[in-house]
């Protein structure tokens, strides 16, 4: 029985199938496509740097960095300065924070019956947008990262500006979201402590406790992170058992008959990606506590995403201190890209989870290109026997409204899923 058709950011539909008044199976369909992978075929390798950020206006920066990494991995030997690495990582952090704020105030708030806080969402995200623009020229859709480094030559003035954008965001975050110092919040290892304040996060958490939604939204308890960097740790875990090895050849994309989005699995198993996965692999104290008590429920998922804002703001401040502007922004690769025939992979952590770009080059032309987006992991539409991550999290629920809440704690977004 089809009960409801649901729209998510971009466009997708959910068909809820009920049995004995409980959700038995959810059919997830993506109804549009642009065929970006086909567009890339035959084009010059560097054109991907202009086209790929435009795959997504929401996380386009992650696509730029994934593209540049994929192209660089085609070289046998390429040097990237520490400065360029830091700048790329900082802008990626800013994009993550930018997205999390919007999700928190625009998506999550109304699901708990509160008014959508457009102005709160946009105040913080515009600060992060400005910080990205300072390095990248504009946001969304920047193309400032190139094979060999970045094109921007930042000055001390730019650093001061970015510092102030971060500080202002931290202030806003402390005042509105958590109502305690960020540094205190990061060290917190007890969910009960996170409840005891007046901020918007405790407001949401209290609702979860009051409504007894603590066990809601559990899935397979399997997590995966591909885009390790100076902060995130790559690896996979089942419950708390971690393994570090993630050979890309086990990542498999599969066509889905009823949808334009492909399913993606690792060793034929579905894995959750996103902030909860990152927190599990990084062993963030607060999330560990939440997971110990309530598993991979909506509470852990919501807490992980908010907690990540604090961690990334703090980490970005530290990274910015390490930035040495006297270093080179760009180191010219030894070989011209038109002489390269090889294949490469670039993986980064986008707001919603791991984003993977795979490329095959033949004399500098793109022979094949594959984009695997975070939402393809979380929203994989599996079969009744082998359900996807979000499908599994909704099974057994009675109310569509609650199913919607569970679904949206994954911060679903179909924009680049339908690339």
């Amino acid at each position: 029985m089809i009960k409801l058709i649901e729209k998510i950011e971009g466009e997708a539909t959910l068909d809820f199938n009920f049995k004995d008044e409980k959700i038995e199976f959810v059919d997830i369909k993506f109804n549009s496509t642009r065929g970006v992978e086909n567009i890339l075929k035959g084009k010059n390798a560097l054109d991907a740097l202009v086209i790929n950020p435009r795959v997504c206006g929401i996380c386009g920066h992650a696509h730029l960095i994934a593209t540049v990494k994929a192209l660089e991995s085609c070289y046998k030997d390429i040097k990237i300065s520490k400065k360029a690495e830091i700048i790329r990582e900082l802008t990626l952090n800013f994009e993550l924070i930018h997205n999390h704020f919007k999700w928190f105030y625009l998506t999550l708030f109304p699901l708990f019956g509160f008014k959508q806080e457009v102005l709160k969402a946009s105040y913080a995200s515009q600060l992060m947008g400005k910080a990205i623009a300072t390095f990248g020229g504009q946001y969304p859709h920047t193309s400032y990262a190139v094979v060999g480094g970045v094109v921007c030559d930042v000055t001390s003035m730019d650093i001061v500006k970015i510092h102030s954008y971060i500080d202002e965001t931290i202030k806003f975050f402390e005042k509105n979201v958590i109502d305690v110092d960020v540094e205190k919040f990061i060290l917190c290892d007890n969910v009960d402590m996170a409840l005891n304040s007046e901020g918007d996060l405790p407001k949401i958490l209290k609702e979860i406790y009051e409504k007894e939604w603590l066990e809601l939204g559990k899935s397979y308890d399997r997590f995966i992170v591909f885009g390790g960097n100076s902060y995130f740790k790559s690896g996979k875990s089942h419950k708390t058992r971690v393994s570090k090895k993630l050979p890309f050849e086990y990542v498999k994309e599969e066509k889905n008959k009823s949808s334009y989005a492909k399913n993606v699995s690792f060793k034929d198993k579905y894995y959750e990606v996103g902030p909860l996965s990152r927190a599990m692999l990084k062993k963030i104290p607060l999330i560990k506590d939440s997971h110990r008590r309530y598993g991979d429920s909506i509470l852990s998922r919501i807490l992980a995403r908010v907690c990540e804002m604090a961690q990334l703001l703090n980490h970005s401040k530290a990274l910015l201190k390490e930035l040495d502007i006297s270093e080179a922004s760009y180191i010219e690769p030894q070989v011209d890209i038109s002489k390269i025939s090889a294949s490469g992979v670039g993986a980064v952590e986008a707001a919603r989870g791991s984003l993977i770009h795979k490329v095959e080059l033949e004399e500098g032309k793109i022979k094949n290109y594959e984009i695997i987006t975070p939402t393809q992991w979380n929203l994989a539409g599996g079969s009744r026997e082998n359900q996807g991550i979000s499908q599994k999290a909704m099974v057994g629920l009675k109310d569509e409204k609650i199913a919607e809440l569970v679904f949206k704690t994954f911060d679903v977004c179909s924009v680049c899923t339908t690339h």
Binding site: N31, S32, R34, L46, K130, Q138
Partner: protein
């Protein structure tokens, strides 16, 4: 190749891309009368949303002075003399009489992102989002059937009055089944035609909605086209760029509120107030071009000194847009500011013709005003003259009329 080159030369030197910023007292007097009449009429009509600019500004801690500063800047951006400022302010107050329905088709949500969420909360953003946005899929909380009902209701209530803003291209391949929307599974084309039917005018925002954009890049797998290829018999305003600049979107809507008409357009249906400028003519690095100082390789001494990016493939000389003046993210920066060079994102087919690092010097494209041929080293200083306008940011804020004419003559 010769044909292509000629076509390009024709496109860039078309009369339509020239603008006239001083039309004489008589013209402005009559324009003011038209606008006053229109605003008085609007004032009598019912409000579309309950929000008023006064409430919103107050809630945001902005005072009347901030608002008037915005109005005077917008007045300049729309190329109107400064005595139109009070009218602009009034028009902003009346924007809740002209509802906007924002459709997202084959897109990446980048334009919604640019205007609705990255650039906030400026007065531009407040006015559009809080005051007049009746329907937008990305930001509204309603979804599914509920959203669809809301759309139908808005279309019915504001029949013939609303502006339909479209983001994203329309896939026409495979009978439109590369993109469907809503409970009924309408194709994007059907959905667009349905909403366009009762719209006062169409505003295509971003390069996808205007010229097909990235989805239309060769080999155009879904046969994507722009709004103007689908909707006929309606006024269409194109606001290209990837993403489109928020201030141009607000400016266009404001112009519609002021006059009930669409702004003056160039040969590609782009508002002249925004696309009458050539990036190159107002570029902060232009002096380096004239002095023959170029970045020769990413990260070289030239790059460190903000030299001209022409040799690195900057498409500023063939791109019409005001981003060298308005910039992005509330004026924080713009692509050339970050040292990348322009990719020509407001021009048709930028995705195939101008993409990454293909210096114009290596192509056979001829630049708009002549002069740029073969290699940049072959021509002397200042061969590339201003395309007909030479407007500086400092001049825009003061009384524009009068000064512009001199400037223009001087440049030619």
């Amino acid at each position: 190749m010769v044909e292509r080159r000629e076509a390009l030369a024709k496109m860039f030197s078309a009369k339509g891309s020239k603008i006239n910023t001083n039309r004489g007292t008589e013209y402005y007097d009559s324009l003011m009368q038209t606008m006053t009449k229109r605003l008085n009429e609007l004032e009598q009509t019912e409000v579309a949303t309950k929000n008023s600019i006064a409430n919103v500004l107050e809630a945001e801690g902005l005072d009347r002075r901030d608002f008037m500063k915005w109005a005077s800047a917008t007045c300049a951006a729309l190329m109107l003399p400064s005595n139109f400022t009070p009218l602009i302010a009034k028009a902003a107050e009346l924007m809740n009489r002209v509802p906007v329905i924002w459709l997202e088709l084959q897109d990446c949500a980048g334009n919604s992102e640019a205007i609705l969420r990255s650039d906030a909360p400026t007065i531009d953003e407040l006015i559009l989002e809080v005051i007049s946005l009746e329907f937008n899929e990305t930001i509204m909380a309603a979804a599914g059937h509920q959203a669809e009902e809301h759309l139908e209701e808005a279309m019915h209530t504001f029949k013939g009055k609303y502006l339909c803003v479209v983001e994203g291209s329309i896939p026409t391949g495979m009978n439109g089944f590369y993109g469907t929307i809503g409970a009924k599974g309408e194709t994007f084309e059907e959905h667009l035609l349905h909403v366009a039917k009762d719209a006062a005018a169409m505003v295509a925002v971003g390069t996808c909605a205007t010229f097909g954009g990235v989805p239309a890049a060769a080999p155009n797998p879904t046969n994507a086209v722009g709004v103007q290829d689908i909707v006929k018999g309606k006024p269409i305003i194109n606001i290209p760029a990837c993403p489109a600049n928020p201030s141009n979107i607000t400016g266009t809507i404001l112009h519609f509120v002021l006059t009930g008409q669409i702004p003056e357009l160039d040969h590609l249906n782009r508002p002249k107030f925004a696309f009458g400028y050539r990036i190159h003519d107002n570029c902060e690095r232009r002096a380096h071009f004239d002095a023959g100082e170029f970045v020769e390789e990413w990260g070289d001494e030239g790059a460190k000194n903000n030299f001209c990016l022409y040799k690195m493939g900057c498409k500023g000389p063939m791109t019409f847009n005001n981003c060298s003046i308005v910039r992005y993210n509330e004026g924080v920066n713009w692509p050339i500011g970050s040292g990348h060079g322009c990719i020509g994102c407001s021009e048709p087919q930028f995705w195939d013709k101008y993409a990454q690092e293909r210096p114009m010097a290596d192509t056979h494209f001829k630049a708009p005003t002549g002069g740029v041929e073969k290699t940049v080293d072959e021509f002397g200083l200042g061969l590339l003259t201003a395309a007909g306008i030479g407007i500086g940011i400092h001049a825009a804020a003061s009384a524009i009329a009068g000064k512009k004419e001199e400037c223009k003559e001087g440049a030619e």
